[in-house]
Symmetry: C2
Subunit: 406 residues, 2 copies
């Protein structure tokens, strides 16, 4: 078989395995990402060895992650933050700081040097609101105050996670604790993210008609794909993760009047390319390491730390809502899902994380996503859904629900 046929065959195997994994997951009422990663574990070099991940598959996987983060950015609107106000800001910020500190501290105590420990801490941080949004939608609870706060806080959480990721990657590349250098690294990351998140979105709000025909002959999708790739390359160029640029491109596109049609046009691209990211991610998880009781213990400990730190920080930050509501908010913020997984993949790729700690973080991310939905359902038991609760906030969450990702 020649090289290009072998590459096509690998694309086929991964795509089919991802669909089978996602389907089994959904029948078990688990998020489809769990099945896709599991499919990757099974067909990867540590088990059936059906695929070899070379440069081509890495590029497909990276493009999948870039488009996924672009679509996350596309759902991240600065206006949504204003609506839910202060409580969401507290929840989002607290839910980043405590897990980062707990994760980083655990890693440092477990023997990782500072730059690696910070990287591991960053993988503890990002909430994946998509899984929670799907559960809330199924329960008809999307219009309740807890749901609005969770989804608003997830926006802040995403922005802070990107900022943090920018900081730890730059810091790790620099590899020193030179205070002045650190300051510049932080300044660069913060500057890039804030400039694009605040100024970029503002500019787009004022010149949204630029994306529209007949002023512009290209389609909005084409322009946004070019912008997404350009900011991804720019982010990588200044030493940040490429996905940070993609996320910010999505945030900027979210301010255009073409947002809804973009979301729709993006679906086929996500359906085709995102499975490559999750399957390739799963293919690097060595499940045989779970034969060591030590590793199993570490996975359990890390998962407990990740769950508790998120619940404690987010519940405390939303105390003003009352006990039950604040716990709902805390539990709703637990799922880590794709962003944590992307951070771990970056760490493995850059050589910061060993295969063992990579596998631990992936498993932790999966477990948090598996635990949260039943817990949320239990917490909502006995509460009648508010009228119109299935409509979603602005209707745009319907998309999260049907996409199968996030």
């Amino acid at each position: 078989m020649d090289h290009s046929t072998a590459a096509l065959l690998a694309l086929l195997i991964i795509f089919v395995a991802a669909q089978i994994g996602a389907e089994i997951s959904q029948r078990l009422t688990l998020p489809s990402v769990v099945g896709e990663i599991a499919a990757g574990c099974i067909i990867g070099p540590f088990a059936l060895n059906l695929i070899q991940v070379g440069h081509e598959l890495e590029l497909f996987a990276e493009l999948g992650a870039i488009l996924l983060l672009f679509s996350v950015g596309l759902e991240t609107r600065l206006d949504d933050l204003k609506k839910v106000g202060k409580v969401a800001a507290y929840v989002g910020t607290g839910g980043v700081i405590l897990p980062f500190l707990v994760g980083g501290l655990w890693a440092h105590l477990a023997g990782f040097e500072l730059s690696k420990a910070l990287f591991i801490g960053a993988a503890f941080v990002a909430t994946s609101a998509g899984i929670t949004a799907r559960v809330l939608h199924e329960l008809g609870m999307l219009s309740r105050i807890e749901s609005r706060i969770i989804l608003g806080a997830a926006v802040i959480d995403d922005i802070l996670a990107m900022l943090l990721l920018g900081f730890v990657t730059s810091f790790q590349a620099q590899g020193s604790v030179d205070v002045l250098g650190l300051f510049f690294v932080l300044l660069q990351a913060v500057g890039f993210v804030l400039l694009l998140a605040l100024v970029g979105t503002r500019l787009m709000q004022r010149s949204s008609q630029l994306l529209e025909a007949p002023i512009n002959p290209l389609s909005p999708l084409t322009l946004c794909l070019a912008g997404c790739l350009a900011l991804a390359v720019a982010a990588a160029y200044i030493g940040l993760a490429a996905i940070i640029g993609a996320f910010l491109a999505g945030m900027i596109a979210a301010e255009s009047t073409q947002r809804h049609s973009l979301e729709k046009q993006l679906q086929p691209l996500l359906a085709f390319l995102v499975p490559y990211f999750f399957v390739v991610t799963g293919s690097k998880v060595d499940l045989s390491q779970l034969a060591s009781l030590n590793v199993v213990g570490t996975v359990i400990l890390v998962t407990i730390l990740a769950v508790l730190s998120k619940i404690v920080a987010c519940s405390l930050a939303s105390m003003s809502l009352g006990r039950r509501s604040s716990i709902i908010v805390g539990v709703g913020m637990v799922p880590r899902g794709e962003v944590g997984i992307i951070v771990a993949s970056l760490g493995l790729q850059a050589g910061v994380l060993s295969n063992t700690i990579y596998s631990v973080i992936i498993l932790m991310s999966l477990l948090t996503s598996v635990i949260a939905p039943p817990a949320l359902k239990a917490l909502f038991a006995g509460i009648t859904p508010p009228p119109g609760g299935e409509q979603g906030v602005d209707g745009h969450l319907m998309k999260v629900d049907t996409s199968g990702y996030g």
Copy 2:
């Protein structure tokens, strides 16, 4: 810059160059594919040298070609053939045989050995109906009898071209004129194409509901992408071109009730991936060879042969329509466009075609696509469009018109 950033940068450069090229083409009222290939010439290693085409870019280009041929197949309906009947069958068949013979004969006389000459002949064959369809649409002439015959004949033309490509690739791989071997090669190619084109489409007609929820939990797009990749790999596995499998997968999907939603969902994937095929194709054209008068002469001669053989065969086959109409049909079948270009790319990749003859064929394909539209407009001058002429046949040609490809 690390490897993955460099790969992303190449993806960005190609995508942006393709958009610029397509835009300039459209302003010059040329097909956008001309601009995309020209963009490839300019940024490729023979000129600005902005991109290096490695395995990753080849895979993107191949995937673009596969999806493009899948979409061509999706517009190829066996029922359409019945509607336009015998004349279209004569036009399609004649328009394949004469150009193949003329092209092959020229190549053989020019000194190419038999297997290479047949390959070159195959690149003379396939009409790209998309360019003609767009011109007919703009003129409001889509419902006239000439238009229906051109578009019906293009379907037969595509099927025969795939059959022929299957034959010449297998023959070339075999590399001998052993009559028994040749017979089996032909049988295999014909068998694969006919089995899928006739039996596959029939099965899909009877079980179209398989693609629909709730019997099937996966989306039609997902199933079709998997089927497209699977048949592409299968075709490559038995020694045919991967695009033949993709085309047949498209023909089968065309018989499902989900055809129109598939066409729509395919658009973003085509918009993203197809430019990689045309730009990579263009990047391999060495325009500096046009400095040789010899090569310029060859391009002109080959283009004249390609244009005349198509016009003569197709006009003769549609004589029953009257002189003016038969010439319109002949001219409408002239543009070669993407299928000829794909055949040439396969030849270059397989080492059958030298860089010179590859460049000649690409330029011929481009020139036929540039010549036909103004000639068609001139031929229709003075004919008033029939009422409702802009509706298109079945409405599905509207898609060809807006896609920018074909």
